[in-house]
């Protein structure tokens, strides 16, 4: 599980949307096609032409366009259109580095080393899940995982219907991702969970005990 990073709740990346995220300091563009399939992609956040951040760009159907010169990249990151030279058949060597991406348990998971190795135990997590929110915490991922009782190899911690995951955008900072299974035990409302997550964040940042706050989740 350590190679698969939970980078976002799925409600923050809807069809046609682009979002820059960071994984251990590496900039990644997460974008979803504006098509009926609405596939999710995770690529290096850098246009191979001039190095512009692709997360400043725009989605056109099933392609991602760079803001700078409009180069468009399709499946697997391959460049398919250079607007300044529309007649040119773009060589396959012009492509953005594509990462492994999975949508599971209300979260987007990214593996920068490949597409395989999504762990078997993850298949036991509920899949009918309502994404709640991602919360920024000014403490390292290790400290946050400790506070919520999550082992890095497990990927997610479940407390009743509430699922928690953590990733580290840069050293010393973490994102806490909160989701809630729709079936099973009754759970707090998303708004209540959002407030709960804010309180957990504040406790972790100020070094206060978190056991009581975690205990509220049954």
């Amino acid at each position: 599980m350590e190679r698969w990073h939970s980078v976002s709740v799925l409600s923050d990346i809807r069809p046609g949307e682009v979002a820059g995220v960071r994984i251990d300091g590496h900039e990644v563009v997460l974008w979803r096609e504006d098509t009926p399939a609405a596939s999710l992609h995770a690529w290096e956040d850098r246009c191979p032409h001039r190095g512009m951040r692709l997360s400043f760009g725009f989605v056109r159907g099933d392609a991602m366009g760079c803001l700078y010169h409009g180069w468009q990249f399709g499946a697997a990151g391959r460049c398919r259109l250079i607007p300044a030279h529309p007649q040119v058949r773009v060589p396959a060597s012009i492509h953005v580095r594509a990462y492994g991406v999975r949508e599971h348990a209300g979260l987007a998971w990214v593996n920068m080393e490949g597409t395989d190795g999504f762990p078997d135990h993850a298949t036991h997590w509920p899949d009918d899940v309502q994404p709640v929110r991602s919360v920024h915490v000014r403490r390292g991922a290790t400290q946050l995982r400790q506070a919520i009782g999550l082992e890095a190899v497990d990927g997610m911690a479940w407390r009743g219907s509430v699922g928690l995951a953590v990733h580290e955008p840069v050293a010393g900072q973490a994102m806490l991702h909160v989701v809630c299974a729709r079936s099973g035990e009754p759970a707090p409302t998303p708004a209540a969970l959002s407030h709960w997550a804010s309180r957990l964040r504040d406790a972790v940042e100020s070094g206060n005990p978190t056991a009581t706050i975690m205990g509220e989740l049954a």
Binding site: V9, Q173, S194
Partner: protein, 205 residues
């Protein structure tokens, strides 16, 4: 009508931008009087009084110098859509507008330390972080309740003021991926007709 309104405007100033953006979104015409506060005082602009700093709005005998008051005044003009200061949500809008004005002061001082000096230093961003936290927590819950804007069903003058705070916080190193709810909200504001840019606020991101 536009000839009656004059805005003393300093392009790189964050408060002036808040007013320009509001005027543009609310589709109100106004004569712009450019001011350069980096020049010595006698050369600022004709008509600006001693000690005044842009933005200053002069209109029908009224002279306003605070960005929150100016947006409030513009939203009350008869030719402006009521949604910008929706009477049904007026108190919430004014509350967030006031929050936004203080937040903009906080941002302006941090940004000034980061950019507008001969020897820029990484500014202390503790106060700004606290402001953005409150905004992010609020908009995360608003989104869950199906709302796109801070204080009313449609964009209001509070959103205008708060947008400037969020958009320019990038200049002091606030990363977008730490504020997903604000990123979504800001994207919505950029898509409104009449959205205007300033140096540091491009029409992307």
């Amino acid at each position: 009508m536009s000839a009656d309104r004059v805005l003393y405007d300093w392009t790189p100033d964050v408060r002036s931008y808040a007013v320009r953006l509001g005027l543009s979104l609310m589709d109100v015409e106004c004569r712009m009087q450019a001011v350069d506060m980096d020049l010595p005082a006698p050369h600022h602009a004709d008509g600006l009084l001693a000690g005044e700093c842009p933005p200053v709005l002069e209109c029908a005998g009224v002279r306003l110098t605070r960005p929150g008051t100016i947006l409030h005044y513009i939203a009350r003009q008869p030719d402006v859509a009521r949604a910008w200061l929706d009477p049904a949500h007026e108190w919430a809008i004014l509350d967030w507008l006031d929050f936004g004005v203080s937040a903009l002061d906080t941002l302006a001082s941090a940004r000034g330390a980061a950019l507008a000096t001969a020897m820029p230093v990484p500014p202390a961003t503790g106060a700004l972080d606290a402001v953005l936290r409150r905004m992010e927590d609020h908009m995360a819950v608003r989104a869950m309740d199906g709302h796109d804007w801070f204080a009313a069903p449609a964009a209001s003058i509070a959103d205008v003021m708060l947008f400037v705070v969020f958009a320019l916080s990038a200049d002091v190193g606030v990363e977008r991926d730490t504020c997903p709810a604000l990123r979504r909200w800001a994207r919505g504001l950029r898509a409104l007709p009449g959205f205007a840019v300033m140096p540091g606020v491009p029409d992307y991101a």
